[in-house]
Amino acid sequence: MLPTDLIRAHRTKEKILPDYAREEYIGLAKTLVTVYKEHIDKPRATLSEALQDCEELGYDFKLVRGLTEVLNSCSIFGIRSILPALPVRKALFEEAAKYPVKSEADRQKILSEVATRFKVNQKDLEESMYADLLEEQQLIDFKAPEPEVLYQRYNFALIISLLTYATRLSVSFIGKDNKIEDLSENLATPKIALGKITQITFELKPTKQVSTRGSKIEDIITKILLKNDWKISADVSYPPRYKVPRLLELEKNLHGKLLKEDPVEEELVIEVRPSQKKSKFGEIIFIEETANKQGITDRELLKQIQAEKIKYVDLGGILIHPSKLESIKNDLTEAEDDDLKNYRRILKSHGCKNPIMLLEALNYIIEPTGEKGRVKVYSLRKN
């Protein structure tokens, strides 16, 4: 889903109409994809600067940023350094404390001295110094979507963002689907009318936990889009300051080609760490997602994980390596402030692809503050 401040939609007397990305923006889509491709193996900061320039191309900056959000989910960022950053920094600062840098020559001397100690060249040492910063992470891989797919994913994310503000949501499709019914229970108590056409209706109260609701709605809509003759109808109170909701209507014939579900966030940070026995599924396994990706059932996935004989802690739908869990818990406890962005950054630095789900599994509560773009995270866990 898109952050609330990037939602593009307008209200008429009765309806709310999303401002979809369409073919007329093909130039923008191509440009953004090219920017990402050109920044493979380059730092995130350089990519961000280039993307900022794209906001001045004359398009609605919300569209540019929204498309960027989607492209980020097609990207893998990681730390690439010869040495871990922390000991390098420490060594450099300690050396410079003894012999303060008064000129470039002094600086070079210190770099050379420390590089020799670490048995690397000066360039590698300098690159390692702050390689752990978010902005220094490099774009390691980028799976470029076709412009049309990019629009579809953007439109999907836009719809999900709008639906999080629904006070009534109704979905219908031909046939029956147990999985969708199960997912519906996660969102709210659904009214389910079964027959040739299944219709599921939810009455929803406005929530401050937009991200949580968004991810639950996304789970349902992702499945719905795969069905025949689906229809979605919702009363949407967006922007939230307008209390009278407007109708959002979508159906396969009219909107099916406009939408495509967003892939699971692919952003992954790889840290320099000593080698250890690793599962091919990673240290944090989101059972359902991973099984879906592998095209196998949850049970089959669990069998495969058991066969690897690596111990995991079961957090309910998430398996996590004990050492990873401990290190995540420590880092979360040390979180500088309670902003969700901060928690996301911490969890992503641990390679977690779904920070919100993991935070909830660890008994954190995610709550928007009412302040634009700011979502707070609290822990109710008792020691």
């Binding site: 410079a96 910063l133 406890t333 040390e334 500088e336 020691n383």
Partner: protein, 433 residues
């Protein structure tokens, strides 16, 4: 018989079969009202645990004693404004000694929870609980973050007789104000280096805690209790290329304002302008141009050259270097190999850097805004503000970092500003108090 009880952040008054509900912070008023009327009341509201005896060896300075006296005279409620380094913690300890009641100390960050806990354990030699960051160890003396105190307010609202709000200027935000409303603690002390200028916020503050009972500015204490200090504002010209680009960008912004007849008089006007830029392409271009122009002014090359000279001529001064943006922090850290602290610095590394600074192993630290408040920064004698906001509070807090009294110490704060740019106005604004 009137029964007074506490439920979910409210005081319930049962009288003649009717129940009245009032916010918990009105408790003190309610009780004194009934006492005045000599009414017979069954007070079930407070469930404060027994407090251990609180005695410390701290001797307050004269102004701390004055502050305490004023606060007691005001009914043990009110805000005390003292500069950073003037010993607000000592004042709090003396206030706790005076009252000898269960106390909740509320602070903005987890780092401060630890700092306060350590100080209180040292001072009173009693167990001190903590609330926040996954810890929920409630004791008669407990230190909590604002967030945790708010989240648990309905449950803990009647457990403490005394609340100390550290950095109380955080309290008037809509979320945090709920703490003050939901706790019935009759005794309240707010501590800060600066109270803001927003009348609405101050109204909330004075309503839930009480007015300012004591206030001393840096200049009142400099020399005797705080170090003497000098502020040197250095205005440096941009280099010709920077100047050309700055003027070009700033003109785009200025012309936009002129064309639209838009006057930028206050922070609210600026916020409106930012909002407008969300739907108005021209406004957006103006905003981006302004931001880029400010980037040039705040991060000018001449500032780095001047910094280099300052550091070379003052090698033995313990120096804190402040910037507005992290980008400049890392640039300087790389160039001069100076330890840096930003919001991305993990707690362990930050502590190690601060410890090394305290020991004198490191003589310099560069930071953005994270050390402005909420972290116990070791004493320094020189501060260099390479760039900052127009916030008067941040300026005073940065100044406070070099004011801890030391024999023959003369603290110097250098403020480096780009000449003929909008930064000169920012610099002027932050020095208004």
């Amino acid at each position: 018989m009137i029964t007074i009880s506490f439920q979910n952040g409210e005081v319930l008054i049962k009288e003649n079969g009717t129940v009245r509900k009032l916010p918990a912070y009105k408790y003190k008023e309610i009780i004194s009202e009934y006492e005045y009327l000599k009414a017979s009341i069954d007070n079930q509201a407070l469930a404060a645990p027994k407090c251990p005896t609180l005695n410390s060896n701290y001797t307050p300075r004269d102004y701390q004693s004055e502050a305490l006296e004023n606060w007691v005279q005001a009914g043990c409620s009110g805000v005390v404004v003292l500069p950073t380094g003037a010993g607000k913690t000592v004042l709090a300890i003396k206030a706790m000694e005076k009252l000898q009641v269960s106390t909740l100390i509320i602070v903005p960050t987890l780092v401060l929870v630890d700092q306060w806990r350590r100080t209180l354990v040292d001072a009173f030699k009693v167990d001190v609980g903590s609330l926040g960051g996954g810890s929920a160890d409630i004791k008669p003396i407990t230190v909590s973050t604002y967030d945790s105190a708010r989240l648990r307010s309905r449950e803990l609202g009647n457990k403490f007789m005394f609340i100390i709000f550290d950095e109380v200027h955080h309290l008037p935000s809509p979320m945090n104000a709920r703490i003050a409303y939901n706790y019935l603690a009759p005794y309240r002390l707010g501590l800060t280096a600066t109270v803001g200028n927003d009348p609405d916020s101050n109204d909330i503050l004075f309503d839930v805690i009480g007015g300012i009972v004591y206030e001393r500015a840096v200049d009142d204490l400099a020399g005797k209790h705080l170090s003497d200090y000098t502020i040197k504002t250095i205005k440096l010209p941009l280099n010709p290329d920077e100047k050309l680009e700055y003027d070009r960008l700033f003109t785009i912004y200025r012309n936009f304002l002129l064309r639209r007849n838009y006057r930028m008089k206050s922070a609210r006007d600026y916020l409106r302008f930012v909002k407008m830029s969300g739907r108005d392409l021209e406004a957006r271009r103006a905003l981006l141009s302004r931001n880029s122009a400010m980037d040039i002014a705040l991060n000018a090359k001449s500032k780095i050259n001047y910094l280099k000279d300052l550091l070379n001529t003052n090698p033995t001064e313990k120096t804190l270097i402040f910037t507005r943006h992290n980008k400049l922090v890392y640039k300087i850290s790389r160039e001069f190999l100076i330890p840096s602290i930003t919001h991305q610095t993990m707690a362990e590394e930050r502590q190690e850097i601060l410890d090394n600074f305290r020991r004198g192993t490191y003589m310099r630290i560069i930071t953005s805004q994270v050390l402005d408040e909420g972290v116990d920064v070791p004493d320094a004698s020189m501060a260099i503000i390479l760039s900052g906001t127009g916030s008067n509070r941040a300026f005073i807090q940065r100044l406070g970092r070099i004011l801890r009294k030391k024999e023959a110490k003369k603290a110097v704060l250098y403020e480096i500003v780009s000449l003929d740019t909008a930064e000169t106005r920012i610099s002027w604004r932050r020095k208004q108090s």
